[in-house]
Amino acid sequence: MDETTVQVYSVLFVAITVVLVYTARFFGRRRARRRLQRQLAGIDQIPLWITQGIESSMPLHLSFGATGVGGDQTPAALAEAEFFHHVIGRAKASDISPIVTMSAPATVPLGQDLLRRAWPQGNSFSRVQWYPPDLAYAGAVAASAAAEEPAAHIMAGRFGAELALMLESADRRGQPSLAVSERLDGQAVAYAMADHVLIGEELFAAPSAVSEDGGGRADAVILDVWRGLIILGATVLLMLEFSKQLPLLSWPLVAAVAAVLIVLGAFAYRRR
């Protein structure tokens, strides 16, 4: 496939997504149906943490990691900001402002803006904290976790292995954590060490899972639809390929196997 074809497909893909997002928003506003959306493990813990924070006057710690605004990570940064916005929205009853940390300086304005909107009652400036990237950031956050005693850490962003330092420090202090990383090494660490973990594109579905926003929920469903389509396409192509290699497998048999696989996949999906 040459570059031109790829570009044509790219344009098509974006166009279809635009149409889908518009349509879903249109319907989504009317009936924001919770059961259409997957349950995300760990999200249901957030209200509890918020409660504890409110009860004991402890802030939440929200971390962007190294996600930067301006590059190819911008959509992720926006999704994270949206997620945090809804989390902070639920913690409004608290008398102490959440702490927002990041290691990409370009994200600082985003964090300020986030806190200013979601937490109008307080001074947002000193609650948004930037530290130099990677290990220095991890060290600073660990130290900050000792000083500020957050009720919980919600880390959604770009982390590497240094996430281990922060999670371990949180763990030692009995502070619960929810983590998701755009980077694979950070994701592995999150899986091993965080109390709760989101994986991959669940990060983008998280905002709607904590909000009452029907439109956002619809977007999460679009995400699932795209993913399902890709899996479906992959399965079909795979089966086609297998049927070529193994002549004994007739077409109907392959189709039956594909159908079973898809049903199993759908079942597994529903169970989550």
Binding site: L48, I54, E55, L184, D185
Partner: protein, 683 residues
């Protein structure tokens, strides 16, 4: 759980048909403030503070229904031993439930701000942590304490057949000449210094030893500073030889590239401008038209994303530029995918799918995907389909589509660095005249030569005909420096053990009957002969199984033998690799001459074609061991290698310790979980 009755007209807004926080808030609205307990009153006051609309304040409270009926607790057992294993948060949740549901009128004792226990540094729970840390620290430091603790094989002196990527890095750099410029990207911070400094140091030394000029760039400002320090260290190490690298003459540090991937985009599109200014804002005097004027682009990166950015933003913009990469282990899996041809990853797909599926099910979401994606990639022949449907518009789009062909060479981690260093040392070392040339001939060599244009073949043949002395007519030692031999410019090359015996042994007739003690290499692998009786000493040359050397002596404990390599030169070999025999001198000489005779020509003269296809560098043909009048081997040979071996061994011990800690810890916790589960069942 107490049933809550809702006032008329209140909507029950929940999938679980239980009252939600907004409902409760509404409920509280209907009750006089005095009736509320302290906690709810303060909550209400807070939520009522400010000018919040009703909708906002409804959302402001946590969802009580979610607290009361947490699916985490009510859900079915998720696995074999998960039923009773509550996470910390879940345990807190249970406590909270007890507080809320169990004890009416019970006040939550928060004790000031300390609702949760603070760091339990000195409690019992800190014991396993301390124990684990102690084991790790102890084992890592063992090799530095005593040479007794040396476990694990050292990496080979030569990249194996399966490491073509690494060989390519070496060979490409080895073919640089004085008028070549190499873009050397430092994309790692001090945190990765331990892993990548050795590679960076080696690559820099290799480049400058060839008299090529590195242009150092980075999109990380601290990395630029760090690069300067590596150069300073190189200068310190060669101070004795009088050589010093000078900024603006031997190397150039270009300005910092801000903006991550956007900065790299700028580099690729505007290289002429980027190269014009140094990191201090001064003019470099370099005039390039584009990246295509460079001989190679070498990237030293800590993370896969940097690798991807470079492959995507820089290399894909330059037709035919090849990216050589060195990475840490963290970035390796992804980089390897780019570097290797896809077929390798894919060829094993088939019966193994099921395992792959379960292997990745650990990440529940990934599972379904993992299989299908892999399959599309493999079975449909290439990633283009994905690029079209899934990726296309995403920033990650082109990753698999484009960059795979872009990274042509890859070195990974400290073990490769060691091999690279060995190889460099061997190639620049003074004693590599003909015999026992490291076998750098890749498996695909004949095929590659077949693809060469006929003109190249002719050129190669011509060179062989004119420059390659036939093995039987090796010149006497004093005349040995042939145009193809590497040697220090200042020293007369020492003769190798391939020298005809008659030249050095006048009383041949009597001497040949004399019995001598010899060592015969018994290890099936290539073995190293070193300058001193330890693995830390420099390698003088390599030997193969069956090679014989005269035994001259041994060290105190007999673990190393001193052997004669050639008149006037002795080396050391580990006793574990050889057998000691007694043979006549004639037999020894015969063995040595047959050893030299079986070295094929190609080992001495390796011809390799590199189509760099970059501007002025358009197709040229190289010898690996070409004339080296220009080279400055001091940069390679004066490298401090004293800590190299203990470091490697410390890594081995460290990994062992990590395995130990992880295995023991998990067995411990798994048993605990099982016990709790059994207790829960019986209770």
């Amino acid at each position: 759980m107490p049933r809550l009755s809702l006032p008329r007209g209140r909507r029950v807004d929940s999938a679980l048909e239980t009252p939600t926080a907004p409902d409760l808030l509404g409920l509280q609205d209907d009750r006089p403030l005095e009736e509320l307990d302290d906690r709810l009153r303060s909550l209400r006051e807070r939520s009522a503070a400010g000018s919040q609309s009703e909708a906002e304040s409804r959302q402001a409270l946590y969802d009580v229904d979610e607290v009361l009926t947490s699916p985490e607790i009510l859900r079915k057992p998720g696995g074999v031993i998960s039923a009773a294993a509550l996470s910390k948060a879940q345990e807190q949740q249970v406590e909270l439930l007890k507080d809320i549901v169990g004890g009416a009128g019970q006040v939550v004792e928060t004790g000031g701000r300390r609702f949760l226990p603070s760091a339990a540094l000195f409690s019992l729970s800190a014991v396993p942590r301390a124990l684990g840390s102690a084991v790790l620290c102890l084992m890592v430091s063992l090799p530095f304490v005593s040479p007794e603790f040396s476990e694990g094989q050292l990496p080979p002196s030569e990249f194996g057949e399966d490491r073509r990527g690494a060989t390519t890095v070496y060979d490409l750099l080895d073919n640089l000449t004085a008028d070549d410029y190499v873009l050397l990207a430092f994309e790692y911070g001090p945190a990765a210094a331990g892993e990548l400094d050795a590679i960076a140091d080696l690559l820099l030394r290799h480049i400058v030893a060839q008299r090529a000029k590195p242009l150092i760039v980075s999109s990380n400002p601290i990395a630029i500073v760090h690069a300067q320090n590596i150069i300073r260290a190189i200068n310190r190490s060669v101070a004795a030889s009088g050589n010093q690298l000078q900024n603006g003459r031997d190397y150039f540090i270009l300005r910092y590239l801000p903006g991550g991937s956007l900065g790299l985009r700028e580099l690729s599109e505007n290289f002429a401008d980027v190269a014009r200014v140094s990191h201090k804002g001064e003019l470099t005097g370099l005039t390039f038209d584009s990246l295509e004027d460079l001989a190679a682009i070498v990237l030293i990166a800590e993370r896969a994303e940097d690798m991807r950015n470079w492959a995507e933003q820089v290399v894909s913009e330059v037709g035919g530029t090849r990216l050589l990469a060195a990475s840490g282990y963290a970035a390796a899996p992804l980089a390897q995918v780019y570097a290797d041809s896809m077929e390798q990853v894919v060829s094993e797909v088939g019966g193994t799918r099921l395992l792959a599926a379960s292997g990745y099910a650990a990440a529940p979401l990934a599972q379904v995907y993992a299989d299908s994606m892999e399959q599309v990639v493999s079975e449909v022949g290439g990633t283009r389909l994905l690029a079209a449907s899934g990726y296309a518009a995403a920033p990650l789009a082109q990753v698999y589509a484009d960059s795979m062909e872009q990274i042509v060479g890859l070195i990974v981690g400290y073990r490769d660095a060691y091999t690279y260093g060995e190889k460099l040392q061997l190639n620049f070392g003074p004693l590599l005249l003909g015999a026992h040339e490291p076998d750098v001939e890749p498996a695909g060599e004949p095929a590659a030569q077949d693809e060469q244009p006929s003109e190249a073949d002719a050129q190669v043949e011509r060179a062989r005909a004119t420059e390659l002395p036939p093995p039987t007519e090796l010149p006497p030692p004093t005349e040995l420096p042939s145009p193809t031999a590497r040697s220090l410019p200042t020293t007369t090359p020492l003769p190798s053990n391939t020298a005809p015996p008659t030249a050095t042994d006048p009383p041949a007739a009597t001497a040949t009957l004399e019995m001598v003690r010899v060592v015969e290499v018994s290890s099936p692998l290539q073995v190293r002969i070193r300058r001193g009786p330890s693995t830390a000493d420099d390698i003088l040359q390599l030997a193969l199984a069956g090679d014989m050397f005269e035994l001259v002596g041994a060290n105190a404990d007999g673990s190393w033998y001193r052997i004669a390599l050639s008149p006037g030169l002795e080396g050391w070999i580990s006793e574990t690799l050889v057998e000691v025999n007694e043979v006549t001198r004639a037999a020894l000489l015969a063995a040595q001459s047959s050893a030299s005779a079986r070295i094929p020509d190609e080992r001495v003269f390796l011809w390799r074609e590199f189509d760099l296809s970059l501007g002025k560098n358009r197709p040229r043909y190289y010898q690996v061991n070409r004339p080296i009048a220009d080279d400055i081997p001091e940069y390679v040979l004066l490298r401090d290698r004293s800590q190299e071996v203990p470091r490697l061994e410390a890594m081995t011990f460290g990994t062992l310790a990590a395995v130990l800690v992880i295995a023991v810890g998990n067995v411990f916790y798994a048993l605990g979980a099982l016990r709790r589960r059994r207790a829960a069942h019986s209770g």
